[in-house]
């Protein structure tokens, strides 16, 4: 165990501490800017992994019509599962492809959490412990202690509710965009999945918001900015799916503004299934997919890219360019 701790410290924690101190010095002593810069750098370094994850998401999205066809065609669960796996193989899609980047992010997040706590020296002993972690360069050694104040926020203090709200809102939005994609499943599985997605949409942001309450505000700043970058990347590389900004307006406000009401979750589910089934039945059809989150509203956006591509796809997809086919 001490060896693991030593490896963790030498390989990850200590370099990050020195990078953070150096960034603070370079950015005029602003620890907040250093955290933001570090977030951008870390996201850039993890971009290949993120891109892989986004490709997996995109691939899963693209084979939804074929998935719907399989769900409809096979009633035997075992056979259906085999067909689904076959479809994954042929399309070069790994449903667990999203997991790797998430796992990679966890150690970095924990390291950042520890680095922020250590570099800001929340206790006098913490400040002394920092001494042994700094590289022997005057620019780094003389930079301590770092100023924890940024834009009126104390980044070393706990319970910054602005950043708690930012973390919750950004994660909720990300989950909302992620779950705004039609998934082809059976009735029972669809209900279960919808419940899961609804739960995840609230559970994960709530869990991280709770965590941010109990940690230095700098951790919240890192997490909120990292999530926002993730949303931007997801939007660029995968697209927003069925998400529209207008769908964020609750029905109570819509009624007052004279806007059409949003579809209920059941309506959205039925519409989603109908759309996918329609695609599966008419593979060569060229149509614009009906909206599932904001039926009939003026906020609807033509998602011709997804609709056209999905509609034009054959029943069995050609392997995705650049992806390795397996089990042939």
């Amino acid at each position: 165990m001490p060896q693991i701790t030593a490896i963790w410290q030498i390989a990850l924690e200590t370099p990050l501490i020195n990078i953070m101190v150096l960034l603070t010095v370079v950015l005029g002593g602003s620890y907040g800017l250093a955290i933001l810069a570090f977030t951008v750098i870390s996201r850039a370094l993890m971009f290949p992994l993120t891109l892989r994850m986004l490709n997996s998401m995109k691939g899963l999205q693209e084979i939804q019509p074929q998935m719907a066809e399989i769900q409809k065609k096979y009633t035997d669960p075992k056979r259906r599962q085999e067909e689904v796996m076959k479809l994954y193989r042929e399309a070069g899609v790994n449903p667990l492809g999203c997991l790797g980047p998430q796992l990679v992010q966890f150690p970095i997040f924990i390291a950042v959490y520890q680095v922020i706590r250590m570099t800001l020296g929340s206790t006098p002993e913490g400040m002394l412990a920092l001494s042994g972690r700094l590289y022997d360069y005057p620019i780094i050694q003389n930079a301590i202690p770092l100023s924890s104040t940024w834009l009126g926020m104390d980044l070393a203090a706990q319970g910054n509710y602005f950043l708690v709200a930012a973390v919750f809102a950004s994660m909720w939005l990300q989950q909302r965009i992620s779950s705004s994609r039609p998934m082809a499943t059976t009735q029972a599985a669809s209900d279960q999945q919808r419940q899961m997605n609804t739960m995840m949409q609230w559970l994960m942001p709530a869990m991280f918001a709770w965590f941010v309450i109990a940690t230095p505000a700098g951790v919240g700043l890192y997490w909120a900015s990292s999530t926002i970058i993730g949303i931007i990347l997801q939007w660029i590389f995968v697209g927003p799916g069925d998400f529209t900004w207008g769908s964020l307006i609750p029905n109570v406000v819509r009624e007052r503004l004279g806007m059409p009401r949003l579809a209920t979750p059941d309506q959205r589910r039925l519409a989603s299934r109908a759309a996918l089934t329609q695609h599966a039945e008419v593979p060569g059809g060229d149509r614009t997919e009906s909206r599932t989150t904001d039926e009939g509203s003026g906020d609807e956006r033509e998602d011709s890219r997804r609709g056209n591509r999905a509609g034009a796809r054959p029943a069995r997809p050609a392997p995705r360019p650049g992806r390795r086919r397996r089990n042939h």
Binding site: T50, P124, A129, G132, S178, M207
Partner: protein, 378 residues
């Protein structure tokens, strides 16, 4: 976290459990506040030691108990008016003992006057400063000058605990004990790298020295010179009257401990493993260095032997005249940030787990002192 699309409840449950475990495992404090208040000599040949967070014990040098006292946390009210008592916090400030009276200041900013008469410890008064306090206060003319972590200097009347004056000469943290000379109080700042001279009577700033590094160490007045150990890896000597720098001695690391001033030399240690002897013009007499050691505590001089203690529990005895090593001992499994106390030809140290160690400065022999719990607390 970019996206969670979970199709299976088991996967969801496992993910949440994994995330929760990782997160909850990280919510513990990396380096919790333990306090580095050193043992001090009490009345009737007793030792006053920090025996726990917020607890002070009076003991004999063999560890037998005399009395104990706990400075409880401040009472607070929540938003619906329920009263609760915060947990006791440790002591960083060195207790000040004057006859049968002791003044203690907790990390939470609670200042208390204790009565040590009759083999017991009783509380005379407690006053809350509502900010963390690390710096040892200065007692002068029945006034206690207490520096807080938000740069405030509170003046407490020791008779009744009332705050009779306060000023905020710096917005940043003050960790080192201020020094006093005549009617002036000198303050070193951690965040703004400044040294300030403040008029004790009215709190007005007399001069301000802008340094290159932070100051966490206690300041020392040596004649007409103020010695300022700094994070810029130097000890600065400032003129008391003007604040101008007379000389600066460059070391190899942070100077965090208070220097020991003797007629022959000034001794100081660094967090990079060096002990220095320098003369009063700032010239080095000798240097002892061992990689891996961190000297936070003030070195002590006992019969020509300079005793330095590293944070990792390594003690070294050096010839005070030459810096040659006489002995070296390591007491495993402890961390020592507190200064030592010389009493009865022995040096006493407390560790971060509130253990008491007794060191023979002649041989370097270390013995843990078994501090017995008192039969009844006060």
């Amino acid at each position: 976290m970019t996206m969670f699309h979970v199709k299976h409840p088991r996967t969801l449950l496992a993910s949440v459990l994994l995330a929760s475990t990782l997160l909850v495992g990280c919510t513990g404090e990396l380096t919790p506040a333990k306090g580095w208040a050193p043992p001090v000599a009490g009345p009737n040949n007793t030792l006053l030691i920090q025996s726990g967070a917020g607890r002070i014990a009076a003991i004999k040098t063999d560890g037998s108990p005399v009395a104990s006292f706990e400075l409880k946390g401040a009472k607070t009210r929540d938003f619906i008016g329920r009263e609760s008592q915060a947990a006791a916090t440790p002591f960083y400030a060195t207790p000040i003992v004057e006859g049968n009276t002791a003044y203690i200041v907790s990390y939470q900013g609670r200042v208390a006057r204790l009565n040590l008469e009759g083999g017991s410890i009783t509380e005379r008064w407690v006053v809350d400063l509502n900010h963390h306090v690390v710096a040892t206060p200065v007692l002068r003319d029945n006034r206690l000058y207490v520096s807080t972590e938000n740069g405030r200097l509170a003046v407490v009347n020791v008779e009744n605990g009332s705050i009779v004056g306060e000023t905020r000469p710096t917005p940043g943290r003050v960790w080192g004990s201020p020094a006093a000379a005549d009617d002036r109080v000198f303050i070193g700042t951690l965040d703004s790298s400044e040294i300030l001279a403040v008029q004790a009577g009215n709190g007005s700033t007399l001069w301000r020295y802008d340094g290159d590094g932070a100051t966490a160490a206690d300041l020392v007045v040596d004649g007409s010179t103020l010695l300022v150990p700094s994070f810029d890896r130097a000890i600065h000597a400032l003129d008391l009257a003007s604040g101008k720098e007379s000389w600066a001695f460059p070391g190899d690391g942070w100077f965090v401990g208070k220097p020991l001033v003797t007629p022959g030399a000034i001794y100081a240690g660094t967090m990079s493993g060096s002990l220095y002897a320098i003369d009063r013009s700032g010239k080095q007499q000798w240097q002892f260095h061992r990689a891996g050691l961190e000297f936070r505590a003030t070195p002590l001089l006992a019969n020509g032997t300079l005793v330095g203690v590293s944070r990792n529990g390594t003690f070294v005895g050096l010839d005070a005249a030459t810096g040659a090593e006489k002995w070296s001992r390591t007491f495993e499994g402890v961390e020592i940030d507190a200064n030592g106390l010389m009493l009865d030809n022995a040096i006493f140290f407390t560790t971060h787990t509130y253990r008491l160690l007794r060191l023979d400065p002649a041989t370097g022999e270390i013995q843990p002192v078994n501090v017995q719990p008192p039969s009844s607390g006060n």
